[in-house]
Symmetry: D3
Subunit: 301 residues, 6 copies
């Protein structure tokens, strides 16, 4: 697509290309940065996962994304064809993700094939539930934003819907113990929306985030039904316990719990395994590291 | 592009595909998430709108985006050809957006056709004015950022220019009462820049936002000339009045007014229908819910 | 791809297309927004730079991005072929960037050709060092995030890795005095991650930013080794000195210095040429405009 | 994708571009070569018809072309989805083809819309019959060529199958009185295979052409069942009767009739409305302008 | 796009890849098959020439190929923009074609740049004449084929129109002494239509070839106005005189001359520098190596 | 890409889509035309084979096709990378081709995996020899055509080179007993050039076909070195022996043998297992079914 234009020394000349290539291929240099795929093994691919997400989006919101259809009978055919195209793609990526851990041994991992297949089917079975939750989320977005003119508008473009759509899918895969992939999916939504929800977070029905840029929701958060967050809200960890060898302890419950109907306004930070009681309203720019009782209204001092 | 690899049960087997398809096609489940397009009707499409925005960008900043040209005579031809390609695309999307509301009736909407056509032409007529404003915005970006080396650099990559480019277009369509589309366009800029400007906001000449991530500008904001914002500034609503049925009242003036020459530093939040007087400077991390007189300098306490 | 559908007036009719084209081609109107490329000159292109970045990414993290390979011997061939494809593309863009300044004269700039070529080769020689630093950054990301399960996970999708990858490349080009291009590359990362690092900033080894959205790192920042930032941290300028003519003075040291092992928690703002001493820990939501001694722990009052 | 490289005069200079454009836009010059589409009318498109043919090919030979499927239940979904995508495309092209005749009037043709829709549905209804005939043709190809190893091999790549596939579709549209389109489809097969069958020709079951290059079958040919042709066979017209004004009389029966089980070897030419009787075998390089009785064996003298 | 699937030896193993690469890189082996492009030189490209031909086709038959337009004013813009895009592409290829001869010297050829530029502009100036001839050819195709329903049908799909379109362009470039490119263009038409016209052949107005497959028209043919050929006609050379060293003498007049109004029916072969007089009709399958007087009717004996 | 436009009945309405789908899915109807791929099995694909051929073309004629390179060292890298990309693709197709025969059993064929892998490697080892032969063929094309100006011109566009390139590859795979694929490759060349060479044909060094359209070379032909054919030459079978059950006997030697240095002029047909002796010249339009002695000159009577 591009072309060299004018006179002067070239990278091929004087062995420069060889030299740089050699430097980049020194085993030392490759350590950490090189992923050595065993021969004839499926490869984990961000592009493949992005394609899967596009198809899932069209399967979940038919008519909004993907080909529009005009009656329920033809929609049925298109939907089934799409599901049938998603399943093997997802399976291949799940196998590759599982194989990531045994990559050093240089052999395709047969267990990964079987396990990846089962996880793909298990995920597909969850789709109707995921769709049901997302329909409720779209309704919540419409009801929660005075600027929204219709539910459809929120589905077409609200960052809240993108974030929760990717999260509910990533979370389902997280619960199936699929390695790597849930986080890759979460980061896709983070990049598009500025909303960073760890796939481990548990989120109830009718969830809505307004504006959203800068929101962070940590791995062990538990969020109840009908909660609402605004931009710049952090539900984070207060400190990271370390192991005796100085490394971080992974997997400890360290993020807040929000009970049902909690609202948190813009720029507020809630840190640690605290509980925000049912119906509490936390104002903007608040810094909070303690429990809040049900129904409380906390604001910046 | 991808392929199933190894043994094991398949989604087509044991009726699993049928079962999931059935679950996803139950009328109940489809409620909310299914957009039923009347037969033979244009379809609102995020991809089509993205394409329109790319072409508008090239028409507005010739040489920066799209094909470079070497003199004004040939540029003229390319520009006209581009405008002639934008107009019917935009029209089709405007018709589809207008038809979104009557989609339930199952018939193409003839009024939408006529109205959509008129709105498309009205928008095209506004292009010279939009371009004029954007030229001033680019100059403001260059003058406002000590790191900027040329006006061209700001056009090529400053998030402020992307945000205001998309906004001025979205706002023009908002003023033409085009449904759905202005918000979709705004969210494109929000996703790219982290700057969330509602298409309803009214913004004066020579506007500049530095860095920009996390900025929120609400629907009924009015911003004067030569204003400047930094990252993380919110111009939001203080509270949402509800109707007697508990639903939010939509469309009330609820966001700040900034008069000319106002500067708001990073992380500051201004909420409600307050007025920030001419030339006022609001420091960083300020929380503000009251009017500020002209020329005032407010900072964090 | 799209098509006009129904009756009504067309943009071609009644001279409307001519009229709008004329308005957009008035010399006055073109001032600022038109980049007049001299005949037969390479053109600075955001798309070309994006393609270069994709290829560099695959050269730096082989197996993660680009084609997977199964042993070191074949990887060597693919890597060399990729480098050989990057070099002329980069060169062309560097020439175009250099030519941006002399565009008014209407002639291809021969000096730009020579200088651009040299800069491209100089950059290519820096690649092994850049890769070495990025390997350390990936390790730091894994060690710094309790949610990370493997170094590979951070390479695949952590915004910190994207931000620092783009930054280390942009910074190398900045040091080679390449105009325009470093900033365009920085803004690509800013758009993807919400992390805005000016290409001029100097950043030490094992750098990590958690979550990242809203981080701003200014042009003259100096950051030591093993530093760690969280979302929403600003390392900015306190004020912009002006020249006697009222314009901003460009290029003055105006951003913070962070010594080794400094940690800055979420939402904190540090402004001006202050120094944060070795090992200091700055808590969340802090507003800081003064020096901090080594080992200090500063938190919100 | 390409770029001007070096010094010298440009087409934009000295008004050359204007001059050539003017010459090509003189009304006189445009006569014949310009197709003036009425505003907002579908446009006859060779690319669209090629896409339709690809989809029909995949619907007719599932597994050979298009996505492979592993059982009959999932195939059913994919097939229905494909048919549902073909129907509106075909309809649009049929409308455009019908409108070709009234293009001068500058208005979309409402009759064309209705008629095009009906023809599209009528064609779709014929698909099962067309497929049945093509299955027999594939069997005939396998049985007729000693080099064929399986029926599948003939479906994958035999020019005979391509030619008869395109013909049976073109002929069905020809019988529906669709203008323009049948011939465009025939020429696609002609270009791929060197076999030129006019869409008007009537061809019976189990038809096979070996090698095929140079075969010509005229508009009014009638070919019975189980006939076989070789490369370079012409079934043409002997002379073209003219009208009193000297123009050619169009639509007269002027090409040969082949009864069942006729074989014609390579390079033979049969001209005029002659009848080749049942089971006749015509040798290679024969020049024939008279009837041949059933069972005869004719060879080069 | 594709992926290795299962166990077994790989090409990278046991040095096989190295071995084959070495064998293919032995200087001896590269002789003849390797085109060594001087650094920073444009490259002759079949794909680029195909793209140029697509654009020329759309410029010559607006509305048939490329974007349809609805009135002459907007068409003018699109046409000029297209011409402006063709000119530099063509120029680049002409430069590359001219440079093909001096490729061994390892330096870009400055003369080629200048000469290529001039030839590109000279070609562009010929476009109006080429279009005029092609309009007459389309009329001739319609009048010459009883199966043609409209002139438009012949433009859309008749192989005769493709062949003569490519020929008239290739011949114009041949007359400008452009090396390589005319023949590449001719072979594109040959591949699509089975009609092989050497770019050197001189062909008069209103030319028509029916069916066309297998037609061969040699380099030094001269064909008058209103001539008509059928499939399988060869206008070839009788023998190839050799130089004293045994190599073929290139460039001698060795192909037939057809005066105005000559018709040659299918399968006929005319060899050598013979003249077929005005209005002569040569029947099918004739073998002819002698002059034919004006008005004669020759048929197979 | 296309869209339904206007009112009227739809294929989804009244169950029409269901009805046609049902008809096309009746088991009877699917017989012959449906290729049932076992779950998780690679699929034979014409598109994949076309991609392989493009890459082989670039590996064999570097600089003519694919990316141009400027010295032998960088070419080496690109070539190795290309070979490394061809090998797994070819392997996958060979596995799929082998599996075509056992497709009915519904299980992936493990033998096919091993055998396909071996055949792919065996083919790759033959590449240097294939390239050597093609270099000689290009030289022969240049020497054999008085209109050729350079060897390079023949490589760029002569149908003879395309035909023999595809044939030498197809023949190598034929000799490795790869099912299906050799014929698919041959038909690609047939479609492009009108030259139909069965992959089984054995062809010596320095082979050239001028013009080529209509040439047919049968499966069991044996052609010596330095032979030359012209357009429309058939080397075919005289008759097809049948088995006792009436089916054709497959695989018998039934096509001509041409010894070294034989020339056959345009339109000549040679049928049956006859031998044309060394150096013989067969004139145009000859019909030949008997042996010809060495050095003979045969012409049309």
């Amino acid at each position: 697509m591009f072309k060299k234009i004018s006179p002067g020394q070239n990278i091929e000349q004087n062995g420069l290309l060889d030299e740089i290539t050699n430097a980049l291929c020194m085993p030392d240099s490759l350590n950490t940065v090189w992923r050595n795929i065993p021969p004839n093994t499926a490869s984990l691919s961000v592009d493949a996962l992005a394609e899967i997400m596009q198809r899932l989006k069209a399967a979940i919101f038919p008519g909004y994304f993907g080909k529009p259809t005009t009656n329920i009978d033809s929609m049925r055919y298109h939907l089934a064809a799409k599901l049938d195209s998603i399943s093997p793609l997802l399976r291949q990526q799940l196998v590759a993700g599982l194989g990531f851990g045994c990559a050093g041994e240089g052999l395709p991992c047969m267990n990964c094939e079987v396990e990846g297949n089962n996880k793909a089917l298990d995920f597909m079975k969850k789709l109707p539930d995921i769709r049901h939750l997302l329909a409720l989320d779209a309704k919540a977005a419409y009801e929660g934003d005075p600027a929204a003119r219709s539910v459809g508008e929120t589905i077409f473009c609200y960052p809240s819907i993108i974030a929760i759509l990717y999260h509910r899918i990533a979370h389902a895969l997280y619960e199936l113990d699929a390695p790597m992939i849930p986080r890759i999916i979460s980061e896709m939504a983070h990049s598009q929306t500025g909303i960073d929800i760890h796939p481990g977070a548990s989120i109830g029905k009718e969830f809505f985030i307004d504006h959203g840029t800068g929101v962070v929701i940590g791995e062990t958060c538990i969020i109840g039904h009908k909660c609402r967050l605004y931009q710049g809200v952090t539900l984070g960890a207060l400190s990271f316990p370390k192991n005796t060898d100085g490394s971080l302890t992974k997997g400890i419950d360290r993020h807040p719990v929000l009970e049902d109907n909690v609202t948190v306004y813009a720029g507020t930070t809630i840190l640690g395994r605290v509980t925000i009681g049912k119906g509490a309203v936390i104002g903007g720019n608040v810094w909070l590291t303690e429990d809040v009782p049900a129904g409380a209204r906390i604001s910046q001092k």
